[in-house]
């Protein structure tokens, strides 16, 4: 049983589920405390130790089913039957015929067929994470797709080979078991196919999804940013100005309260030394102000920009409330614009971003590429105190979404908040990748009008 568990652990690791040796030891010890032949208990022990967050549980379940149910025949080392002999013969023949060219994927598929999914899981995992090359000439989203196609074709070839073999080798494989061997082979190849085409969905139980908003303003509050008229834009600016002022006041209030906290005995006594030990000057403890770091990644293509400009406007107006604000913009390539905001006045800076930043404004929006750029150049800007705010509609023109990069970013920062200027009902249609991206966010919000923006800002600052 230990051996089996260890092999399962290897498979989990190949599929990117992090399991430490200490956890394996824990499982082995815990298995002695329960009845391991009760599957519910066995499963619970493995899950409680190997999938240590709700987000990992789906992947775990999938691997568990694959390993302990679909690959079952390999677990019970049964005696040789006519059927298993036939199966072995098929595998032997396949190995002989197909691995001559040293193709790792073919070898992995045959191993998978014979009951050891390790190599295949590893290759599939690599494939899911394959990145688009920043192509010089023609941009495409085909890298991953074509590799997948390749694997699919190989699966088909194996299926055909098995059929051929079974049809022409009556002497080796007993006729009575041909049908059952065929089903067994097909079942495994089908589950290999499923692994390839269906990525495990990450459960995101902690996801905070906010679509509604309080009624701050009845009329202007409901107009989508993208359809504001010139006069209304002015109106929104005024409202934002008021809001910024209000929030600043609250923040200053916090500063003054900070000086009225509990008495700091250590410092008071030190000062008392000056006056023969009489505590004349009383020092109070500074309450630490909540000052997080903010990193904003902002899509500046058409509709999003209408909302993003207001967002940036507010963030920079409220810079005092955070210890650092960094901002990046992208269409396809990503560029840092923090400096622009330092050098210029907020509104001026926003205007100049649209003309001066070193990115190509006419390019097609590509979120995958933008994330890839960010990870390559600016990953160090994220730490466990940083809130990453992504502003965008997640419409990526059917390019490779590369959502696994967002997952990596999640591991590096405190929270990821995605603001989408579109209302929630549009998130699922067309080229929107919101469904994929939201699995890696801590919070997703529809933020397309003033009311929603005010709600968000108040929650962020207060």
């Amino acid at each position: 049983m230990v051996n089996m568990t260890l092999r399962f652990v290897n498979c989990c690791r190949a599929a990117d589920l992090r399991i430490s040796t200490a956890e394996v030891l824990d499982v082995v010890r815990q298995l002695t405390l329960i009845d391991p032949y009760d599957e519910f208990l066995f499963h619970t022990v493995l899950r409680t130790n190997f999938a240590k967050s709700h987000r990992d549980q789906d992947l775990f379940e999938r691997l568990y089913t694959l390993f302990f149910h679909e690959m079952k025949s390999d677990l019970t080392e049964a005696e040789n039957t006519v059927e298993s002999d036939g199966f072995d013969a098929v595998i032997a023949e396949l190995t002989k015929e197909m691995t001559a060219d040293g193709d790792a994927m073919k070898q992995a598929l045959i191993d998978f067929l014979s009951g050891s999914p390790l190599g295949y899981l590893d290759l599939i995992n690599k494939l899911h994470k394959q990145e688009e090359l920043a192509a010089a000439v023609l941009k495409s989203n085909m890298t991953q797709l074509s590799s997948r196609l390749d694997v699919m074709l190989k699966i088909n070839t194996i299926k055909q080979k098995v059929l051929q073999f079974l049809g022409s080798n009556h002497a080796v494989v007993d006729d009575s078991v041909t049908a059952s061997i065929e089903t067994a082979v097909n079942r495994r190849l089908n589950s290999a196919y499923d692994l390839l085409t269906q990525e495990a969905k990450t459960k995101n139980a902690g996801l905070k999804k906010i679509a509604h908003s309080d009624e701050h303003y009845t009329e202007i509050g409901h107009v989508p940013f993208s359809s504001l008229s010139g006069r209304e834009i002015e109106e929104v600016r005024d409202v934002i100005k008021q809001l910024v002022k209000k929030l600043e006041e609250i923040a200053t209030l916090r500063y003054s309260v900070a000086k009225k906290g509990a008495i700091d005995v250590k410092k008071t006594l030190r000062r008392a030394g000056k006056y023969l030990g009489i505590p004349i000057e009383i020092v109070r403890k500074d309450k630490p102000l909540r000052k997080g770091k903010i990193v904003v990644i902002c899509d500046v293509s058409g509709s999003v920009w209408a909302m993003a400009r207001f967002m940036l406007n507010i963030l920079y107006a409220l810079q005092e409330c955070f210890s650092k604000v960094k901002s990046f913009i992208f269409v396809s390539e990503l560029a840092e614009v923090t400096d622009v905001f330092i050098k210029k006045e907020v509104n001026e800076a926003i205007e100049s971003i649209m003309t001066d930043a070193p990115i190509e404004y006419q390019a097609q929006t590509d979120y995958g590429m933008a994330f890839q750029n960010f990870r390559k150049r600016h990953l160090a800007d994220l730490d466990k105190k940083t809130t990453l705010i992504i502003i965008g509609d997640a419409r990526s023109n059917y390019q490779n979404p590369q959502d696994h990069i967002l997952k990596e970013l999640r591991d590096k920062c405190r929270r990821i908040i995605w603001l989408n200027p579109e209302q929630e009902k549009f998130w699922a249609d067309g080229d929107s990748e919101m469904a994929l991206y939201k699995d890696h966010c801590h919070e997703v919000r529809a933020c397309g009008n003033l009311n929603q923006l005010i709600d968000f800002i108040q929650e962020l600052v207060l």
């Binding site: 051996n3 260890l6 824990d26 002695t32 022990v45 409680t48 679509a211 466990k384 105190k385």
Partner: protein, 346 residues
């Protein structure tokens, strides 16, 4: 823990057949530990999973088989439990019920941003230290008077500095209290996801070895093993290092049957048909886009309110007027009122 020898032997043989001698020794040492304690070890709080379930039920906590199993394993292995789940599914209640069921005191620490060691672990009582030095001034003069030079005086004082950096001058905070407690306790570290990463890192020593290091005094190891619960609402992700030291448990909103059981145990004698309607409607509300989803205790509050008002038939009007115990935002109430027909559909 009842140790069935045959099972244990089975394990040893299997593990020995495999390879990993290391694993083998760990198992065998564990087996001897169990057999050394006879049928029920002294440290063992629960004999089996069923007992966990029964004891929790005696505290009016309906636990699923998974919850009982994980609690049993954690207690037997002396490992902390990291409980995840949406707000109000009974994470904190689980810790409280375990404490009550075992008759152990509960030490609770609520986490928040800015929580640090001085509020969670210990703090030196400067005022008391100073007061003592003032009062003992003469005594100190006596000690120093014998010495010839300043350096000697400093050395002499240094010999006595332990007196001022002793446990007498430490103000205990929850974590240290749990470590020092002579009787075994249940330690609940609530909403760990709200704390800062620094605090999380600082917890690691406590969670893996049940010990705490105070620079001036040294390392203090737990007198008795506390049962530790950490709860998280997933506001942010926990570090791998912390997760590695814990056993994980996810509690979701209960299914309708379980929630009915929970309400029934809290409000015995409630009408079955009404109960089913209440629980179904609440479950449907949880699927709506609400600012705050109703939790189990709010279901109970609502049922209690309906009982007090002696209502035994739910109508849209009654629901609309009694929503207050259930929903805490005006926007939520409005949304629910607009969708009452769908909520009520059978």
């Amino acid at each position: 823990m009842r140790c069935r020898t045959s099972d244990c032997e089975g394990f040893i043989i299997i593990s020995y057949n495999v390879h990993a001698d290391f694993v083998y020794t760990r198992i065998s040492s564990h087996v001897s530990y169990i057999s050394g304690h006879g049928t029920k070890g002294e440290g063992m709080e629960f004999e089996n999973i069923l007992e966990v379930q029964e004891k929790l039920e005696s505290q009016k906590y309906i636990s699923s088989r998974e919850i009982s199993t994980v609690v049993f394993l954690a207690v037997a292995m002396e490992k902390p439990i990291l409980v995840e789940g949406p707000a109000g599914v009974g994470k904190t209640e689980l810790a409280k019920s375990i404490a009550k069921a075992l008759g152990r005191p509960l030490i609770r620490m609520q986490c928040y941003e800015g929580l640090d060691e001085s509020k969670s672990l210990y703090e030196w009582e400067y005022a008391k230290q100073l007061l003592y030095t003032q009062m003992l001034k003469d005594k100190i003069t006596d000690i120093v008077s014998e010495t010839a030079s300043l350096a000697d005086a400093v050395d002499e004082i240094a010999n006595h500095e332990d007196a001022f950096f002793s446990e007498k001058f430490i103000q205990t905070r929850p974590l240290l209290a749990a470590i020092k407690s002579p009787e075994p306790v249940v330690l609940l570290i609530d909403e760990i996801d709200k704390s800062d990463p620094e605090f999380e890192a600082f917890l690691l020593e406590l969670l893996s070895d049940f010990q705490i290091t105070i620079p001036e005094i040294g390392t203090m190891t737990a007198v008795t093993q506390p049962i530790v619960f950490l709860t998280s609402n997933n506001y942010r992700d926990m570090s791998d290092a912390l997760k590695r030291r814990c056993i994980h448990l996810f509690i979701d909103y209960p299914d309708i049957e379980t929630e009915m059981n929970i309400v029934r145990i809290k409000l015995p004698g409630i009408d079955e048909i009404l109960l089913k309607k209440i629980v179904t409607i609440v479950a449907r509300m949880r699927d709506m886009d609400l600012k705050k989803k109703p939790c189990i205790s709010e279901t109970i509050d609502w049922a209690k309110a309906l009982l007090t008002l002696q209502i035994d038939e739910l109508s849209p009007e009654i629901i609309a007027t009694t929503l207050n115990p259930l929903l805490k935002y005006k926007a939520d109430c409005d949304l629910v009122k607009r969708n009452l027909p769908e909520l009520m559909a059978s």
